[in-house]
């Protein structure tokens, strides 16, 4: 018992340290975003006075003049479209890989892994040229396509692992019960793989949401520029003030959807929905 108590205490301290280490930059960011411009450099962790001016400035001027609203819409749209396409394609692919024996299966998995490892920066130059020639530069598809390239392998790997966990008998039971292979997939396998599908979806969404490299290289205007790229174009109130406050505020705003996403689906991710399928 004593031993357990000590272990518990040590673990608790370790966890608190890790959480603090991870949270301090975020708290600092929030702190900066709440400070009025003249207090930005006062080196205090807790702001002397709280002002929401930085947040207001983000949305000032409505959709046309605000430096933030259009990129936010772009970010949401591009990330969501990529996530949907990526998850649909990846779930078909992962299902085939998990369930079937076919020639080239290892090649597909190895290829997916190789693409995931590929340094994105090396594709930026060629893409820039190709996209301008094809008219995809500074458009939604211009970002969605490279995002798909890098998010599909990730989604496939996550989903293959989840599909493999589902007892094959469930699918056979569905077949014997009179389901076509497609019905067995949509009515039995997909609902059971839901935690995996959500996990993959969140990972893909976060990948697209956070990307800076493609966003800064393949866009040139608010037509498709996403928030991470747009932050780099923020300007201060005058040419002599740094936009630190509004960048911090924007960073807080773009972090919120991710937190909401994860909190909302957390239970689905954690809960093993397959419990009780087979002898437990």
């Amino acid at each position: 018992m004593e031993h357990e108590g000590r272990d518990y205490a040590l673990w608790s301290i370790a966890i608190v340290l890790v959480v603090l280490f991870a949270l301090i930059p975020v708290l600092w960011l929030i702190s900066i975003s709440l400070k009025p411009p003249d207090e930005l450099t006062d080196q205090r962790f807790i702001p002397q006075s709280v002002s929401f001016d930085n947040y207001k400035s983000l949305f000032e001027g409505g959709i046309d003049d605000s430096p933030f609203i259009k990129p936010l819409i772009n970010s949401i749209a591009i990330a969501l479209i990529t996530t949907v396409i990526s998850i649909v394609l990846a779930s078909f692919c992962a299902y085939a890989i998990a369930r079937l024996e076919f020639p080239g299966k290892r090649l597909i998995l190895a290829g997916a892994l190789a693409i995931a490892m590929f340094p994105p920066i090396s594709t930026v130059g060629p893409l820039f040229d190709m996209w301008r020639a094809l008219g995809l530069y500074d458009t939604y598809p211009g970002l969605i396509i490279p995002y798909l390239t890098f998010s599909l392998p990730l989604a496939i790997y996550v989903l293959v692992a989840f599909f493999r966990e589902i007892p094959w008998e469930l699918e056979q039971a569905a077949q014997v019960d009179g389901a076509t292979p497609f019905q067995a997939f949509t009515k039995v396998i997909v609902p059971l793989a839901a935690p995996g599908v959500f996990t993959a979806a969140i990972l893909v969404f976060i990948f697209c949401w956070n990307d800076f490299l493609f966003a800064i290289s393949l866009t040139s205007s608010d037509a498709s520029r996403t928030v991470p790229a747009a932050l780099a174009f923020f300007t201060g109130e005058s040419s002599f003030t740094a936009p630190t406050g509004s960048i911090a505020a924007a960073a807080v705003v773009v972090t919120l959807p991710i937190i909401v996403f994860v909190l909302f689906f957390q239970r689905r991710i954690v809960a093993g929905l397959t419990a009780g399928a087979v002898k437990g």
Binding site: P167, Q172, A173, A275, G276
Partner: protein, 391 residues
């Protein structure tokens, strides 16, 4: 009419392994057929070929007179109960049981009616809105059965449906399954590795070994007239005792005595054979009375161990012999090792189990005089394992 016919069915896997070899089996309409054998004997593969979950390499499977080789499982109108039940965890008991009917496009009211009827039969009414994760093992097993019976299919296929239950529940469910089958009169193929289940449930039992069908018959036929060493050793609990024997000049030399071959109804031949005698064909001479004069032999043995179960008394003793060697018996030993984890094979000693009358006074580590009913002897060819009894 929904008899199931297997005609020369063979299953060869991609790696060249033949799981089922040229299997012929006729299962009558409404019959309860058991496929039994040690693990890896191909019984589940055979069942899965009937279900359509496994391709048939060659041969033909007919259900209700129609060849179904190329039909997918959904078009065969069969219901299957899986070893691990394979309940859909995201559906309630009601949805699980009604899933097949829903797929078939049956009206919702009719589905409800049928599901409730099946739930009544299986005593699941109060659990209809629960999910499988919240049910006990026995309840899950009943839901799996319910999923099969609501459909009123041509045949039930059951793949070791009771093997995940604890011993007491297994016996109880065994009776339930038997009652249910005789009530519904649906053709049933039931796979098990447990010979007790096979003997108690089946109208007929098909014994398999290494992909080959050994013998098909009623439980009594298999017990009284096993065609080879494997069936003899596999069917019956405790298993038949085997000992080496020698035939010469019309006499059979056993380690426990000599018998006239004339009475046994076996082919005349000379040479080595393997003799088999079931535990209940031994008796304590003290209890046997007059019968010892009529037939059989008596011999002395030192009892190693006595197990009294109240209704029965098992006495273990050994005979000095070189033991019997046979692939067929090795398979059984392997199977029982898997099940019990016990192996009591000693070089040069053959252990014999005798089932004696409970009033017998035999004691551990004491000599006892025992009687063996040699009219019940089974003789087998040591090479092929085939029974030497004239059929």
């Amino acid at each position: 009419m929904s008899e199931i016919v297997l005609d020369g069915v063979t299953k060869t896997f991609a790696d060249g392994f033949e799981a089922v070899k040229d299997m012929d089996l006729d299962i009558q309409d409404g019959e309860f057929m058991i496929l039994v054998g040690p693990s890896g004997c191909g019984k589940s593969t055979a069942l899965r070929m009937i279900a359509g979950l496994e391709d048939i390499s060659s041969g033909e499977v007919k259900i209700g007179g129609e060849t179904v080789n190329d039909r997918s499982p959904k078009d065969r109108d069969i219901a299957m109960v899986f070893q691990n039940y394979a309940l859909y965890p995201h559906m309630t008991v009601r949805e699980n049981m009604g899933f097949a009917l829903k797929l078939a496009g049956v009206d919702k009211s009719e589905i409800d009616e049928k599901v409730e009827e099946a739930a009544r039969t299986l005593d699941l009414e109060q659990h209809l809105d629960r999910r499988p994760a919240n049910l006990s093992g026995g309840q899950r097993q009943r839901v799996a059965m319910g999923r099969a019976i609501v459909r009123d299919p041509k045949a039930f296929l059951m793949d070791e449906p009771l093997s995940n239950l604890d011993a007491k529940l297994r016996v109880q469910m065994r009776t339930e399954v038997a009652k249910l089958q005789s009530k519904l009169e649906t053709t049933t193929v039931y796979v098990t590795h447990d010979q007790t289940e096979a003997m108690t449930l089946g109208d007929r039992v098909a014994v398999m070994r290494a992909g080959v069908l050994q013998q098909v018959g009623t439980p009594a036929e298999l017990y009284d007239n096993p065609v080879n060493l494997f069936v003899a050793g596999f069917i019956g609990s405790p298993a038949m005792n085997f000992m080496p024997a020698q035939i010469s000049g019309g006499k059979l030399q056993l380690p426990i005595g000599e018998v006239d071959l004339g009475d046994l109804g076996v082919e005349q031949r000379d040479g080595q054979v393997i003799a088999g005698l079931r535990p209940e064909n031994f008796e304590d001479t003290e209890v046997i009375g007059d019968l010892r004069e009529e037939r059989g032999i008596t011999f002395e043995a030192e009892i190693d161990l006595v197990e009294s179960l109240g209704s029965d008394l098992f006495a273990y003793f050994h005979i000095e012999s070189e033991g019997v060697q046979s692939d067929q018996l090795a398979d059984i030993v392997e199977a029982s090792l898997e099940e019990t984890g016990a192996g009591e094979i000693q070089e040069g000693r053959e252990q014999i189990v005798a089932r004696l009358d409970p009033t017998s006074k035999v004691k551990r580590r004491e000599k006892a005089e025992l009687w063996a009913d040699t009219a019940k002897l089974h003789l087998f060819d040591p090479e092929s394992g085939a029974s030497l009894r004239k059929q």
